[in-house]
Point group: D2
Chain length 364, copies 4
């Protein structure tokens, strides 16, 4: 690649925006050239605008500190300054939908962390190791909407990463899960900042996260679906039932998974072998943010654990463990993934890298 | 009752033993008159023997402090000083089995927190609200073993209390659960003291507790079984699959429960009504430690929570919430109970109270 | 007392207001008859107004739930419905000052948790065990301001309770501290709700709490001062230097105290004896919320600890420990008090009880 | 350097030993060639011997896993296999003293984390940025004891690192501290593994760590002392009074420091300038583990914080903040350092690097 693609961050002062600021530091293909946020932050230097709410454990990179934050509502500004944008807007769904469409219509591809467009029929929702092929939907999206250069691609919710890659690895081998009971133990950083009050979660479990179970039950069906007539047709063979809980853990979502298979039921050895063999498209393409091992099985009886496994492969691997028979469904296991890296900004950056290789993201 | 029954605690210096020391303070029917422990502790004043490992948040009751700890291996000492004993021995299963049998054979009833005898065929495992009738097994236990006054009764593991009463309340109305998928989020005090190292669990989840899943899957079947030929015949209609995890919460085990019913499937309203109506034998008998409400349903979307619900009814109630339909099985809900109160010493004391009313525990 | 005094709570939906709601349940002298808050909450039932922000571990008392919250700006409403008010307003200092004065001027005594009037010369700041005599200032306050029935009394900041009673007990014996270096380790509940974000304090210490060190250094001087010409003259003999830190502890402020004395320097034995002997005015008057032991010395080397000592005497005792010589000043010790009980609502209720006994709070 | 020095770890299976295993991976000058531990571990592969107690968040480096652990009591084995040893023995002081002397006598230099020899007159206790010159004591140590190649050097306790470099930076400019009041808030990893039980420290502060205050008050005086007649003469001008507390923080010791100066008292600006200017010997020598900035001042009011600052410069920097006037002594500030990196294994490795440059560590 001759020179780096110029990247804009919409919602750059929020929790996910801060993650982008750190993760894109020194990225071989991308360079942040544009930072936008709400009108209140606009006009101030990024370092100053973000100071009071910076909650990362590393300092803001020096070179971003002086960039003047722009109003995220002004598409024109972005057009002049970047090749594509990451959207981590916060706000009402309908507003975000329109805003993202405005960027795409103006010619700027949008890679979105927001849930607003996840169920828009012609918008792909991508986990690069699982459904890289869905990026082809961009063609029909552009055609239908009359967009030439712009498009919208989303990434799914952080709660599903810890079981989607393990399931997909089995499906690739021809073993089809039909029923899934999932209980998640989700980390605090998933709620952003200030997020969960310390008094609400210290020495406690909160067995409910608004909207999270619906996403956990529904998003996988689209990701596992297939393109038909320029839309995604949801996977019909799988039913998921989820309970999502918040736990006093900083980073790393754990998923306790019980799964039943259809006719072609794998043995324990089949499963371990499938996981061991698994490589995804990002690994084949050697994308810069792709983990070498996208799926790590730990044989110790007490793994995966957030503090020991969340940072594997710079937080981009999914770690599984405790695979064993289940007397009610067929098998049970525990999965874990880093929710702000693999599950949020990191996953979106990996998706952008995939889109570069597929020719959808180019310099202007 | 004219005067209080004299109570001995075997294993009095351990975590559960300390709980007995606090919970029996001021008990209307029982008085601690005898404290026994391992030979190393024997001969020392209880206050002194327990000082270095006392981890309760309240001080040791003054009147116990000066009692000289006896060797738990010496049954004779106990015989002279108490009417029955609570056993919270720690050690190898076979040794504990023999020790408890020695006490019973000598004429001292044993109410045990230990798992050693839980699956002995003629030993009942009691949750007083669920299977009070199983105490009748004492007759055949005595007959078979030639014991006259002594007997052994156990209480089940702390991990199952949060879902056993809710399920039993439904069974009483004729709704029979057939499949159960349970994920537990278990508190630190369940591991005793020193128990879990702070470095192992701070900011972390450990998705494994040795032996806990087996107990969680198997003990309910005995509790829901029925007496036949002087033994408990396990419930055959129910299958349970459990995943047990350790969480950074001091007290209170949470259970995420997904359940399927047989032919007579209740509606959501049926379930709520059954829970609302539920009263157990201990409530009818007005046992001193019985919670007025043994089962509390919280309608708020984010309950039950350890810090808000574990102490309900002095830690003796079970709290449930989040009842809703499950697309994979039939329903899902979340249950919570205090593991060291309802789930350990408190449950055993309630069982002893039941045994008093049933005439099995008497003063000598 | 014939019948209970009718109590109003200003700022009733906030963190401190919620504490009053719980603590006054079943109080022998006081009954909540009036709940006021900001205009946004006014007109709604208290149970509903407070639902989303209720963060106490016990439920809201049933009988308060249906009370309609009134606008705290309307003094007339309060006048008709209560004998005095507790103020736990939140907001700009100048507004609170005026609001509290308006209540007093209208004839309603105000016991305030707010810092607004703490340094008003004719307003006493009371720790009942330390400076009960300062309530006499009410006379000149009323005279100067032309108030007949109303008055304003404040309670000090939660950060100073854990060392003020220990120091006062020494001063009563004639030992005068002259220099104090204090480091506090303050609990999360001191910041109210939502207060400190979990991501900001989990696995962390924040070595700064805005405004807290100034209060910790200055408030004791007024409390230890004496009345002269209808004002408090600050204590001149003592200098305090404080560092206040926030720690991941739910309740209970710890203070590490190094102290130097003037000419009459006590021995270690003198200090322990003074602490052991100490009884305050509230103990002599047997006020309902007064701890029997206002000051508890723990001889164990590792006490006081929040989880073991904060709830002593229903959270109204101050616990001290680790008294030993200091090579730089004279002595050092560690103090602990429950910040929302002794240090906030509980302390204010005790002050109100003192004011009843002194004849300043009466039924209308 | 032609080839790497061969390093042995005594006590390699303990908490500090594990840290060495990770920190020395890929070290440019040192290579672990020898792992020793207690006789129980001897004879087993390191990976197996350490498995049950491995508590690092990263996996054991593959190439160490198969090394057979040797008995730490056998000096001869070590002699054949390494050029020098790091000692992180645990056990009785007198035994450790003798064991370390045996290694030195046999010709193997010992860099020790243990406190056993810290106050041996002719054994230097080194913080490389503060008293690098003390390594010259090795000459007289060897001479007196008749050792030719071997010697013993110690590193100080983890509790003092966060204030020693800041104070030394001031002393270098001629400002002499005379009185120091220090309160520490020490992390859990300082207690090793299993260390502090989770039930003892969750939601809690323990205001006492056995032996820690004595070390904190005494060790600095030796470090700031000077060599005279082949011994260290302690610094006489400084008095320290410490209170050491344990807090629920994984890594990073915080020190709250109040300091008084002698005649030449610096201004605030003098102090900030001295800290800003500071470079130590390790920086001048560009030692591989030396932080570029050994002392970082954070101007934000709420820094340093463990989660934000402990990992600065790979955990080898000391971070200070909150410098301001103190009404009792002269100034106060807060310091922070990573206790297992700068404060333990990392500090010892830096000391070894210094000893290489000074010619005391060589290949055999």
């Amino acid at each position: 690649m001759r020179s780096k693609l110029r990247v804009g961050i919409l919602g750059s002062t929020g929790a996910v925006g801060q993650n982008y600021a750190l993760l894109l530091e020194g990225h071989p293909w991308f360079e942040i050239t544009y930072l936008a946020a709400s009108p209140q932050s606009a006009g101030r230097a990024y370092g100053e605008a973000v100071a009071a709410k910076w909650h990362m454990n590393r300092d803001l990179p020096q070179k971003l500190s002086g960039i003047i934050v722009k109003d995220a509502n002004s598409v024109q500004n972005a057009l002049d300054n970047c090749d594509f944008v990451f959207s981590s807007y916060e706000g009402p769904k309908e507003e975000i939908k329109k805003a993202e469409e405005a960027y795409a219509a103006a010619g700027l591809p949008v890679i979105s962390n927001n849930s607003a467009h996840r169920f828009t029929e012609d918008v792909p929702m991508i986990i690069p190791e699982v459904n890289a092929g869905h990026v082809n939907l961009i063609e029909s999206q552009r055609a239908r909407r009359g967009w030439e250069r712009g498009f919208i691609v989303t990434k799914p919710n952080c709660s599903i990463q810890s079981f989607m890659t393990p399931l997909h690895a089995l499906m690739e081998k021809g073993y089809d899960p039909t029923l899934l009971v999932v209980a998640t133990e989700q980390a605090l950083s998933g709620a952003g900042f200030p997020g969960v009050p310390s008094l609400a979660i210290g020495d406690n479990i909160v067995p409910y996260i608004p909207g999270e179970e619906e996403k956990t039950e529904r998003e996988p069906l689209k990701i596992l679906g297939r393109i038909k007539d320029g839309k995604i047709e949801d996977c019909q063979r799988l039913k998921i039932s989820a309970t999502c809980t918040r736990v006093p853990v900083r980073d790393g979502h754990t998923a306790i998974v019980h799964v039943k298979f259809g006719e072609n039921k794998p043995s324990l050895e089949n499963i371990l072998e499938a996981w061991d063999d698994f490589k995804g498209i990002p690994q084949g393409l050697m994308l810069p943010s792709a983990p070498i091992m996208p799926l790590i099985y730990r044989a110790e009886p007490d793994r995966p654990q957030p503090i020991k496994d969340r940072d594997s492969e710079k937080g981009m691997a999914v770690t599984v463990g405790r695979l064993r028979a289940c007397d009610v469904l067929d098998y049970k296991f525990v999965g874990l993934s880093h929710n702000t890296l693999r599950g949020a900004a990191g996953g979106a950056i990996l998706t952008a890298e995939l889109l570069v290789k597929k020719g959808y993201l180019t310099s202007k």
